[in-house]
């Protein structure tokens, strides 16, 4: 019952924050931090446990909570990032009104996600999924103004997804007479393929919407950019990964390896969708001028990598997919927090064209952003390298050159937009109005520091997380990977971080020697560095303005989010149609009476002539 008490404790805690926050303003922050930390601690202590409990009976369905390695890893990531972003919120939300409401919903989202990964049956999975949806809606709306249409888009997509999942669950229930995951995985083999595909499609709509796979991605960019930054970190880092969890659960736990990859065409379709999800959002990210929107598109693209990994279906790719989920959660959260720190100090500016030169003013944030971007690109010695290596490796080894090419193009684009982000915020000239900008406060630095450390740590010692992942993929029915502390040994080539470490060290020494041997460099002022010492008025030029302009001109004509346009058009059409329908109620009582009499007359007429009833 410990899992159940944990959930109850968390829900009660969330309410307590709200009501305590009304009367004692300070206590809610302390409570939020303490509760989220305790949750993290609880989950961490559950390491290695494997059991399930029946906690409730809902309309004849037995509801279960369960824990095993698979849900533990996700639960740990959720509670850990939840804890860090609540710490980050302490200063981010300081001057905002109504932050008791914010903290309560923040906890709700975290608990709901925890519930999703701990759910032992599909009904509780669905219930927590819905609680997550509406609390997310409230949090995205929090900033008001332009956040409102963004959250509207989110909740509508979300309702569509969750209802199709509900139908999938009930359809599966009619076929198998159970909703308990551990039983489903035994029974599913007796169901015919057509039904399985139908269920997979219904669930994929729900998970695809959460995971922002094209063509279900359009809610994500506005929602991520309009949400409060600590919540963007959660949203991007783990909330959309509930889709990943769902896919893993459906494909590998419920349906199982030996069935899912024998469904003709399914994996090909999913792989192609993943490739599209990698390429287009990457280029759209390059075109963005809003820091958070850029990161949001990047999230869509990275979710594509994860999706590619888990749908490709080899040991390496699934391990890579799960590892990339973990890594992406860490570095994307870090980058959102870094942008959040900038936003906090500049009083809400995210426009990349009007920032610049913050490297001297906020060096710590710069370092964090740099490490995050390195992880995102997948440079060696960061965690992103290992997971991307796994995915590339398997794509090339198994002869999927086009998918591998898509992944490579994605990485190329990732370098471009990551550089744009770093350059436009931290390099170049500091605009005059930001001369008095201060460093990030400690409560913001601390989460960023922890996350940066983890990126490097996992980059050098990938064996630690990979051991957990190894256990997960073994439970899916794969052969274990041969993991050592520093890398992976396989027949087709080894990954050993020690070699890379040595190579990096040697190259570093060479670079230092090369520059030492050259001429002494001359230090110039931050405002001088582009004009080579000659005087140009400060306000005249800013290199951060329209970065990548030629590329922008070239791509802009091709890259529109046609899918979003399509959705908006259909929404407008439905609205128009609804207005038309309303005209049935003319307001003229004569026509109403006519409806009544016509109804009766038609019924009698039909029965007299054709006797249908």
């Amino acid at each position: 019952m410990i899992l159940f008490y944990m959930m109850i404790f968390a829900f009660v805690g969330a309410f307590l924050i709200y009501f305590a926050g009304k009367s004692f303003p300070r206590i809610k922050e302390i409570l939020a931090v303490v509760i989220s930390f305790l949750l993290f601690l609880f989950v961490a202590l559950l390491y290695g446990k494997d059991f399930q409990i029946n906690y409730h009976n809902f309309l004849g369905f037995h509801l279960f909570l369960r824990i095993n390695m698979f849900s533990w890893l996700f639960a740990l990531t959720i509670t850990f990032l939840g804890f860090l972003s609540i710490i980050f919120s302490l200063s981010y939300m300081k001057d905002k009104k109504n932050n008791a409401f914010y903290y309560m919903n923040m906890l709700f989202v975290n608990i709901a996600m925890l519930g999703i990964v701990l759910a032992g049956d599909l009904i509780s999975f669905f219930i927590f999924w819905e609680i997550m949806s509406w609390s997310t809606f409230l949090l995205i709306s929090y900033k008001k103004g332009s956040a409102l249409p963004a959250s509207m888009k989110y909740i509508i997509m979300s309702i569509i997804g969750s209802l199709s999942m509900l139908i999938g669950i009930l359809y599966l229930y009619d076929l198998t007479d159970t909703t308990i995951i551990s039983q489903l995985s035994h029974i599913i083999r007796f169901i015919n393929k057509g039904d399985v595909i139908f269920v997979v499609i219904l669930f994929s709509i729900a998970f695809g919407i959460k995971n922002a796979v094209i063509p279900f991605h359009n809610w994500l960019p506005p929602a991520h950019s309009e949400a409060p930054s600590p919540f963007s970190a959660i949203l991007s880092g783990i909330l959309i990964k509930m889709g990943v969890y769902g896919f893993l659960l459906l494909f590998y736990v419920i349906i199982g390896l030996d069935i899912i990859f024998h469904l003709t065409g399914l994996t090909i379709v999913l792989n192609v969708l993943a490739a599209i999800t990698i390429i287009f959002p990457t280029f759209l990210a390059i075109l963005q001028n809003d820091a958070k929107r850029l990161l949001a598109w990047s999230t869509v693209a990275q979710a594509g990598y994860i999706f590619m990994g888990i749908t490709y279906g080899t040991e390496l790719s699934v391990a890579g997919g799960i590892f990339h989920f973990l890594n992406h959660a860490i570095f994307k959260a870090l980058m959102f927090l870094a942008v959040g720190a900038i936003e906090y100090r500049t009083k809400g500016i995210r426009d990349l064209n009007s920032l610049g030169g913050f490297i001297k003013k906020m060096p710590f944030t710069f370092a964090a952003m740099l490490i995050g971007a390195m992880g995102l690109i997948g440079l060696p010695l960061t965690n992103g390298f290992v997971s991307k290596w796994l995915i590339y490796k398997t794509l090339i080894l198994n002869g999927s050159p086009f998918l591998a090419f898509a992944a490579l193009i994605g990485t190329w684009g990732t370098i471009l937009y990551s550089y744009k982000l770093i350059h436009n915020i931290f390099l170049g000239q500091l605009p005059a109005k930001f001369e008095n900008i201060q460093k990030a406060p400690f409560s913001m630095k601390m989460p960023m520091m922890i996350l940066s450390t983890i990126i490097i740590f996992f980059g050098i010692l990938p064996g630690i997380p990979l051991q957990f992942i190894n256990k997960i993929i073994v439970s899916f029915g794969y052969h274990p990977l041969n993991v050592s502390l520093f890398g992976i040994v396989s027949d087709s080539g080894n990954l050993n971080i020690i070699n890379i470490l040595a190579a990096t060290f040697v190259i570093g020494v060479l670079i230092v020697l090369f520059f030492r041997s050259g001429r002494k460099s001359v230090r110039v002022d931050q405002y001088d560095n582009y004009a080579a010492g000659s005087f140009i008025p400060k306000e005249k030029y800013s290199y951060t303005n329209s970065f990548y302009a030629p590329l922008d001109r070239f791509l802009n004509s091709f890259l529109k989010d046609y899918i979003d346009i399509f959705y908006c058009k259909s929404a407008a059409l439905i609205r128009h149609f609804c207005n038309g329908i309303r005209k049935i109620y003319t307001g003229y009582v004569g026509s109403y009476v006519m409806y009544i009499l016509l109804f009766l007359a038609v019924l009698i007429f039909v029965q007299l002539n054709w006797s249908v009833f």
Partner: protein, 494 residues
């Protein structure tokens, strides 16, 4: 067998009816007390109904009044289905009466309270009677008092929609009466069980014609498309406490009467397929019309049409689980819609406008009212852990259990309507909480007598959402009573 003693269910109708006519006398004696009369009356009904539950779960209670043997006397049949609705009616009546203590400030209050009591007494009569002519009489009591209450405020919109309602409602009543007359002419009896015994199943045109007349007549009050044109006007111009009862109770009682006639008397299974489509169309049209409304009460009224469509759909599945889903959806709709209308009442009172855009920032100014409103909307959309989820879940489950392609397509349409529903309700939530208002006036909550009923409704929504099992046994027996014609016959005719 040991005879169990219980309170005579006739009192469920007699007490409120008597109290309603005491009100005008009491007016001369002690005017302050009249607003407490409905509270007392429906509290009595609620308690009596609840004490009857264990007895009714074993066997139906038959009460004979002023007659000799069963088919020839006027009788009440208190089965699980009727009792379930009578509990809902008295619960809503009790809570709305508390709400009205402060809410009703203008107009002739004596008339308001009399009509309010008559409306709900008529509703209880409809659900408990075992005789179609009595059904008609109680139905008229319900309808006539609601015509009067719609125009209660006496403004132009109220009078106009009251007249419109009156015209359509009386056409409905006369059609119903014609239908009853045709049946009586053929079989010479008005007792439902007796009729049911004589009509095995509807097969000849001489049965279909009266059935169509009765369906059309009752369908007007039940707000089935295309018979529901009176509803948006009437529900939006009535005082909010009355809208709550009209939306939450009156149309459901109409629907119950219709289903009782279809299932018990005619056993017209082939007609159910038609009602299935009619339900989905009603749902679709209701939700689509609500989508672009700017007037909150009209929006809620159209949403009621949609909900009724969903209930019709659930009943027309015509399986035990479908009927359970329908009954559960009735309960959840009563709770949700009553809560929404009650909360809206004070929000309108506060802002002086029914436009949704004028509700900006009410989340700050009336935090509790706005919170209750939010709970109501979440529940009506069907989000867990609220009761609306449990009821929609049951309906989906029942429809999918049929395992036919038709039902999957209809479910897809229902999903579309839920999305539309979500879109307009979430828009109101955003207006309440996330839009700044221009006027900076301070916090001013609804009256405490209004908050208490809202709180109880919200609590019930939450509790039944988490523990739906508590009422499932009752609902199952209600569903099987309505579905199983033979057991109804046996219990009445012996």
């Amino acid at each position: 067998m040991k005879e169990i003693t219980y309170i005579n269910p006739v009192l469920l109708i007699a007490v409120p009816l008597a109290l309603a006519f005491i009100i005008p006398i009491l007016k001369f004696v002690w005017e302050k007390s009249i607003k407490w009369i409905p509270v007392a009356g429906f509290l009595f009904d609620l308690i009596v109904s609840i004490t009857l539950i264990p007895i009714v779960l074993q066997k139906n209670i038959i009460v004979k009044i002023g007659g000799t043997t069963t088919p020839f006397s006027i009788n009440l049949v208190v089965g699980p289905a009727g009792l379930l609705l009578s509990i809902m009616i008295s619960l809503a009546g009790f809570l709305v009466a508390i709400y009205a203590l402060k809410y009703i400030q203008e107009g002739d209050k004596t008339k308001y309270h009399i009509l309010f009591m008559l409306l709900l007494t008529g509703a209880i009569g409809v659900v408990l009677t075992g005789d179609i002519f009595n059904l008609f009489v109680f139905f008229e009591v319900l309808c006539i008092s609601s015509y009067a209450l719609v125009g209660y405020l006496g403004n132009r919109a109220g009078i106009e929609s009251s007249i419109k309602y009156l015209i359509q409602g009386s056409i409905g009543s006369s059609l119903l009466l014609v239908g009853i007359g045709l049946i009586y002419g053929q079989y010479g009896t008005l007792n439902m069980a007796d009729l049911a015994a004589q009509i095995k199943t509807a097969d000849s045109i001489s049965l279909f014609v009266p059935m169509f007349f009765m369906i059309t007549g009752l369908g007007i009050e039940a707000a089935i498309f295309p018979l529901n044109s009176w509803l948006p006007d009437a529900h939006s111009s009535a005082p909010s406490s009355i809208s709550a009862v009209l939306s939450g109770i009156a149309i459901e009682v109409g629907l119950y009467a219709m289903m009782r006639i279809l299932f018990t008397i005619f056993a017209a299974e082939s007609f159910m397929g038609f009602l299935l489509f009619l339900g989905v169309i009603t749902l679709l049209i209701g939700e689509m019309s609500a989508f672009s409304q700017n007037n909150i009460k009209r929006m809620l009224a159209y949403s009621s049409i949609g909900q009724i469509g969903l209930i019709v759909f659930a009943f027309s599945i015509a399986t035990a689980s479908g009927l359970s889903g329908g009954f559960f959806q009735m309960i959840s709709h009563t709770l949700n819609k009553a809560l929404l209308f009650l909360a809206t009442g004070f929000m309108i009172y506060r802002t002086g406008s029914m436009e949704i855009s004028s509700f900006r920032g009410l989340g700050k100014k009336m935090p509790l009212t706005a919170l209750f409103f939010t709970i109501g909307t979440f529940s009506i959309i069907g989000l867990p852990p609220f009761v609306g989820f449990a009821s929609k879940f049951l309906i989906f489950k029942a429809a999918l259990a049929k395992q036919e392609l038709l039902f999957i397509i209809l479910i897809a349409v229902i999903i579309l309507t839920t999305v539309i529903e979500g879109a307009y309700f979430f828009r109101i939530i955003q207006t309440l909480y996330f839009k700044e208002s221009d006027d900076k006036s301070s916090k001013q909550e609804s009256a405490i007598t209004a908050l208490i009923p809202m709180f109880i409704f919200a609590l019930l929504i939450l509790i039944l959402g988490i523990y739906p099992n508590w009422i499932m046994k009752f609902i199952h027996s209600a569903a099987s009573e309505l579905l199983n014609k033979m057991s109804y016959l046996r219990s009445v005719l012996g």
